[in-house]
Amino acid sequence: MNPDTERQEMREFLLGTLDRDHKTQFEERILTEPSVYEELLIDEEELIDQYVTGELSAVEREQFESHFLITAERQKNLRFGKLLQKYVNSHVEEPPIPSQSFSFLHTPVRRLASLGLLAAILGAAGIIFIRGFVNRREAASVVQQTTSQVMTVTLQPGSPETQGSTAQSVNLPPRGVEVKLELQLAKPTFSYYKSELFRENKSLKISDEIKIEAKGEQCVVPFTVTGEMLSPGDYQVKLSGVGSGTDEFIDNYSFRVIE
């Protein structure tokens, strides 16, 4: 069998979508062919990684959660996958794979020469970056005009107590404008997030299955509400990570709408 076809069948088997005839054939092969079973274990891990990093489609996620995750061993493997992602996220600097290709840097003279070269490269990169930044600013003003129906507000985690007396202020949005709240996140440990907007402990809106977005060096969880939902006063957004079966509270984000 073509290896790609076989891998696709394994994936369907793991997600519970393989048709009955193929499944029966496959079950027998798993029991009797060691190589098929080993490949299946590798595919299981890859599927888990894809789930953890949010690469699965909504349908596949549902199949993964309802079918794949039914055994204790796989749940344990998922926990390991999440743990590994957390570890990798906390080690931003990736060590290079040992190689002989940079051995010329090991002598002092060459190292000095290399530093000079590096400085030149950084200088050139700086010029390119500044030009790019100016261009982006110009472009952004155009984007701002074309997306004037969306008001973006970036919020930092914390309650009014932890933020001090100055709560984060948001200008009252005009009618018909959507407000995109960008919740800053220290570590993106989940594939999906859940946000809930409160005013005086009353829930106003919940959004599930939100994916993080990169914003420069940071990650944010976007949470869009309608402008009509906000009036002058204090609000709170509760952010949770969506785990398998349970949600894990991450942080609160407080802000004050002012006129």
Partner: protein, 182 residues
Amino acid sequence: MNKNWSLSQEAFDALLDWLDSDREQAGIKYEQIRSRLIVFFAGRGCINAEDLADETINRVTSKVNEIQKEFDGDPALYFYGVAKWVYTEYLRRKTPQSQSAPIDSARAELEFRCLERCVARLSEEDRALLLKDYGAKGQTQAERRKALADELGITLNALRIRVFRIRTGLKVCIEKCIQDSL
């Protein structure tokens, strides 16, 4: 099967003898069959796949002396046949199962500390490979793996197996670390 039947050492020894005349090999084959039976039941959507795999093994074990005389072939196939019966019975008595208990924060912290310790014990090369395999943002797993395989000058499949082995070793190390810390 008699429901009061329980696995005796004698019956278990007979099962191992049937699987292989070499006791060590027989033990390996036993573990392999059990793992694959779990996959079989999980593939059919059984929540308690581990229990059903054990039930299948117990049934085969209880009749292993008769089976040895009558059945000539790969024992795995015999287990497969019994597993299909066990599955049919499971469907008749199926009851809703509860979700697994969430992990408390102290346990989660311990697991993370153990992971850090175990990663630190990896060779520099394996550690870098693991971080690269998981770490590059904005790429899919397939894109990351392809780039990494090209960089290392190995086939994609060789890379998949290598990463799998590193991770398997890490899991064993973490299990041991947790056991030692409790």
